[in-house]
Every structure is written in C-alpha cells, then in structure tokens.
Symmetry: C2
Subunit: 394 residues, 2 copies
C-alpha cells in the first residue's frame, strides 16, 4: 500500500458511544448496536440523515444467516440511517478496527462526508460450553488442541524461555488492567486483584491462569467520523484519525516465532509512517490483551520497548496510568470485556475520551496521541491472522 | 456519494474463475474458495505475491465464529496471498457485489495495484430443513410468515394486480433462464422446461411454483482486478470496471411499493451516471432472479423497460439471448444456482466471458457492455435491504 495517499482529506472522530460490555444474553445484537449508535450520534451532534456510509463489524451473528445477516442494515434502519451505503465486515478480533479503517477511508477519499463505524458481538450467545475447542471442519490443528488459550499459553512459555520473563510479570498485566477497569464505569469487571490472586486463580492452560484471560462479553461500540471541512458544523472538540493499517499473514508460514507477530510489526510500521509518528510519540495505547501474554507480545510488536523487554516494562510500572506509556487505561480486554468485533471500535471511544479529557478517574493527563491495536483471527489451526491499527491525535 | 471521483484510476478485470455451483455439502467453504481463486489467478496471469488486497464475501460460515471466521484469511493462506490486506464482507445476496466494488475502489484509489474479489457460500450446509422460516429473535414479521418466498409471491401477485401481468409471463422467466442454463457448463441445472411444466410444478407460495424459485447451491467465484497502468504486464484482453454502486434502504419505511425497489433505482442511477451509460447501452444484464417475480421487478428497476412492462418484455422474447437486451444469459440464479455471496462475483465472471467472446453456446454476440445486479437482505422482517450494481465494458 501507499502509506499516505495524497488526495485524502483529514477525517475527525466527532462522536463516540457504547453499550456496557457485560453478559447480557437476553439482548439481541440489534439492540446492542442500536444503543451504541444512538449514543455516538447524540455525542456527535449529527442528524441520522447526514450519514452516508456505515460499516458494521460482527462475528457472532445470532445463529448464522438464518437469524441475522445484514446486521448493519437492520441496526441502521432502527436508528434512521438506512438509506446509505452499508457493509458488514468480519475480521475476528480486528473486525472493529476494520470498520473504523474503512469508514475513515471512504470519507478521506471524498466518497462521503459523514459515516459510522460500528462493532457488535455477543459471546455468551455464540459460545456454547466446550465448543471453544472446535474450529473448521478441515482444521487439523484445532482438533489436536491448538486453540486460542493454548496458543496464548505457548506465547507465554516461549517468552519466559527466550527472554527470562516471569509469571509475576504476566500477572502484573492482569493486575494493572483490572486496576484500570475498576476506574471505568463501562468495564465488565471493576474489581482489583493482587499478583498472588492472579497467579493462584484456576489454572486454565499452563502457565495461563483464569485471571490472565479475558471474559465472555456482549456489547457494542460506535463512532461517528466526519470529513475535516464539515466538522465545524457539528462539534468544537474533534479528534483526528492520523494513521491506519490492516495486515494479514499466514502465521505458521511467515511469522518469525511465537512471540513476535510479523503482521503486528508491519501494521504498526505502516500506521506510524502514515501518521508521521513513532512509538515515543504515543501518550496511551489500547491493545489486544485477550490474554496477559498477548499484551506483553503486542507491546513489543508496537515498539514500545525493545523485543523481549515487555515483561520488564510492565514490572517497572511504565505501562500504568501515570507511567511512561499507559497501556490499556480502559482495563483492556481483560477487565473491560471483549465482544470481539466491538473492541476495535471501543478502543477509539476510549482514546477519544482521553484526548478530550473526559476519561474520569482513569484519565491519562495531557494525552494528545493514542494508538488502538487489535490482532486475532489466527484461526483454521492458527494458519491465518489479521492485525488492525488506528492512530488518533488531538 | 460523489458519482465519479476525479482521482480514480481505471480498473480492469484481468482474471475470472469459479467452482461449479452445485450441491456439494461434503466440501468446505475454504475448498470452494480455493478452487475459484486458483482458477481466477491462473486466468489472470498474476503471481499470488502480486495481490495487495482481497475481499471475501460470505454469509454462511460453517457454523458461525467457532467453525470459520476469517474465511478470507484462511483461503488466502491456502493460495499464497495471505500477506496482504484482507477483509471479509457480508451483505446477504449483494455480498459478492460488495466484494467486487470494494476491491475496485481500493485499486482505483491507488491503495493497491492488484486485488481479488471472492464470494463463497454453502446453502446446503447452512440451511436446515424448515429453518428458512425463522429469522432474528426479535423479528416479528418472519414469525408471522413474511419470509423470502412469501415476499416474492407478494411481489408477483401485486405486479399482476397493478400491471395486468400474467402467470405465463413469470413462467417464461424460468423457461428462458433454464434454456440459457442448459447452455452453461457451470450451471447447476442444465435442463429445459416448458411454460406448462413451470406452472404445473409444485406450488410453494401461491402464485410462486417450485420452478420459479432458485435452488440451494454451494459454490464460489473469484475475479482478479488490476490498475490500468499495470494491466499490460498480465493480459492482452482486459475488460473494464465502468460503474459501481451499493445502496441500502429501510424497505417498509422508504420504498414506494412492493414491485418497485427504490434502492434498486437509486443504485442503478448512480452506476449509470458513473459509467456515462444508460440502460439502452447495455448488451447483457445479469440480475437477481432468486424468484421469477424478482427478475420482472428488477428489469424495471434497471430501466430496461417502462415500469410495469417487465412481463411484456419477457413475453416478447426481448430478454432472451439474441433479443434486444439479454437478461441472465448464464441461466441466472434460477438455473445457474445461488450460493448467496458467490453470485455477485459469478456475474462478473459471466459478463467477462461474454465480453471476451468466450461464453460458448450462450454467447451474446458482439457484447461490449454488461451490468451485474444483486439485491437482497430484506431481513429482520424485510425491514432492511441492500442492492449492489457493477457495470463492466470492453
């Protein structure tokens, strides 16, 4: 890709909104999406009729085609924005990042002036007990036991062996994120844990314990994006999309090793170049911490510290609110919750609140630049994955 | 939307390929997609490493997230194009049209030079007997019996009442499309029927009979798109994307009536304007004929004849191969088959073959301009829908 296309307009985030991320199995996907869209539209000051394009990210349709295809069109019709261009996207954990990127792109290219990026998923509806272990019918690796928690446990074990990181350092990721979550009224878990409590919680996939793994969550998040030349009509406090990238990879064929994601490195390099910024310019990062081990690995993919030093960075407190580079001030997926496709959009809500100075008790003081990172979809036996990154600035 | 963006490059279709559209429940979605991608890549002359972007349209994941999310990433890794930007899209019947549009757009805007648009679905895997009647949990209309065949039957009855069209005219749609399908080696049904056989086939949803309804199909289609300035590296017989549109609508709130789709009219108007062409310039049309009644309605939405005269146009033979404006020379969804997300891509394969003079016994002689139309997703109680149109020229 050309890192920066000369004809692009600047695009602002002018409205953000979300539903709570909790277990709410009784609510439909449409209900969750409508709640998030209403909140984002209200926050933005737009009228629904102004919306030219909408992307809806979703993995967990209520039961496949027969129960809920065209989820975006359905939600759009319920919030009065049906007469626009609507596309449903799915990219596993990176679906929300994809919706943000695509809405930004259409507006930046001049196709539309105002758009909505929406993400919604319901894990409690989609996941039947035990089925987390099953994957595609032709998926040998999963049949042999290579599931998401297994993979994350291997990442942790490999990081410990290769770089000398310790279980306590991984536990500190959970401690930090739950401490942040306790300050976030939108978080699924608002309770602090000690390192000992994390290490002594139930062993799920050695060495990963229960409190190092994100919960099942149901929820939605939405943002309103707007072309620079139209922003003044709606808001006096825009924040700006500064860089974006989406990279896929054939994991086992092309990645370097378990603890370094080549697609994460490539995506962050492209997004940094587009934004004209580097890791040192970031004031906060929201990244994919479905497991404590992936936070450590992703910190390194993003260049927040040298490879192998993510555990030390965490131990030293540099990733805490008030530290050198706060990571997951929201509480991250571990405490905030993780309705897959919603998370990449929810991260932009969180960063926007910090950049506006509206993040309450978890406010990163003086934040001017935030990066949102999601990675996942290492499905079909972890063969293939996708990483989405969006950078937002004041 | 701005109908034509001044900074866009021309984009060519340089390769097309598909799997058979038949009942092949034993094959996975990935296998079907790989077959189509291999065929399109071979036809195009590109190397897999040239691919910068891939869109994969799919509704029927093998069983929701747990069995096959990131289908596009999975297929891409199996054909050697994993290290690019991949997005899975879903827009019901218009999913394939969406994948084509989005690949065209990214290349046209200069983001990438070569891309693949892929559509794949398996209806026999997704649809359990009887479940076609069920929709979203909060879907009142479907619970009351408003399903796709019911809707199509209402369209047919309303068209007959409003314009005096006859059951024989609708039956002639099926007769024509099955006659075309009999000439198409890729068609699911390669057998001719008479008007009497169509009218006397089993009554499904009065006045719609079984042979007026498309079959359950499993299959995939793929095309390779390329920026104008790179085409000469790969092929001497490109065809060109000339216009594209994707429009959604809140059906019951905004559409005029059952037989005229406002989103179909708006999408075709926009695509015609972008191409600088009108209905009279078309040499062939591939359109959404999941039901014989929708072919008649869609003929009118596209302006191939005045509103209400679609039945007469069909009766007169104008839509046959060799007629004034051949419609569905492939056999359409009725005979070709309809694996939902594959169809909008398959239509571009068909039009490309005609424009190259490679359509065999069903060749539309001297064809220079073709239009592909898909409409669907009138789900969640038919509240919301989406129409995708792409125009291709020599």
């Amino acid at each position: 890709m050309k890192a920066k296309l000369p004809s692009m307009r600047r695009v602002a985030v002018i409205g953000v909104g979300m539903s709570p991320f909790i277990k709410q199995t009784q609510r439909t996907l449409a209900e969750l999406g409508v709640e998030a869209c209403h909140a984002a539209i209200k926050d933005s000051g737009i009228s629904p009729k102004d919306v030219g394009v909408l992307y809806c990210a979703n993995v967990h349709t209520d039961a496949g085609f027969l129960h809920q295809d065209c989820l975006g069109e359905d939600i759009a019709s319920r919030v009065g924005v049906a007469n626009c261009e609507i596309t449903n996207v799915e990219n596993a954990c990176s679906g929300g990042s994809t919706a943000v990127r695509r809405t930004w792109y259409d507006i930046g290219m001049g196709m539309y002036d105002v758009g909505i990026a929406l993400g919604v998923d319901s894990m409690t509806r989609a996941i039947k007990k035990g089925t987390l272990l099953s994957r595609g019918l032709d998926d040998i690796d999963a049949s042999l036991g290579m599931t998401m928690p297994t993979f994350a446990a291997l990442v942790m074990r490999r990081h410990m062996a290769q770089y000398g990181s310790t279980p306590e350092q991984f536990a500190k990721v959970s401690v930090k994120n739950h401490r942040n979550g306790a300050l976030n009224p939108y978080a699924q878990y608002q309770k602090e844990f000690t390192v000992e409590e994390v290490l002594n919680s139930r062993m799920v996939c050695d060495p990963l314990t229960l409190y190092m793994i994100c919960p099942y969550s149901d929820g939605a998040a939405a943002i309103v994006l707007c072309a620079a030349d139209k922003v003044a009509q709606y808001t006096t406090h825009p924040v700006w999309m500064a860089g974006s990238s989406l990279k896929s990879a054939d994991y086992f064929q092309n990645e370097k090793n378990l603890v370094a994601s080549g697609m994460g490195e490539r995506a962050s390099a492209e997004a940094y170049e587009m934004a004209g910024l580097g890791p040192k310019d970031l004031d906060l990062v929201e990244l994919h911490d479905a497991f404590a081990s992936t936070e450590i690995a992703n910190i390194e993919d993003l260049g927040l510290c040298p490879r192998g030093e993510g555990g030390i960075l965490t131990q030293e407190g540099a990733t805490e609110i008030g530290g050198r580079i706060p990571v997951n001030p929201s509480g991250g997926l571990l405490a905030q919750g993780h309705p897959l496709s919603a998370s990449g959009v929810r991260q932009i809500c969180e960063i926007t609140w910090h950049l506006r100075g509206q993040a309450g008790k978890r406010q990163v003081q003086g934040a001017k630049v935030g990066l949102a990172h999601m990675e996942g979809g290492m499905v079909a036996g972890l063969q293939s994955g996708v990483c989405g990154i969006n950078i937002v600035t004041l």
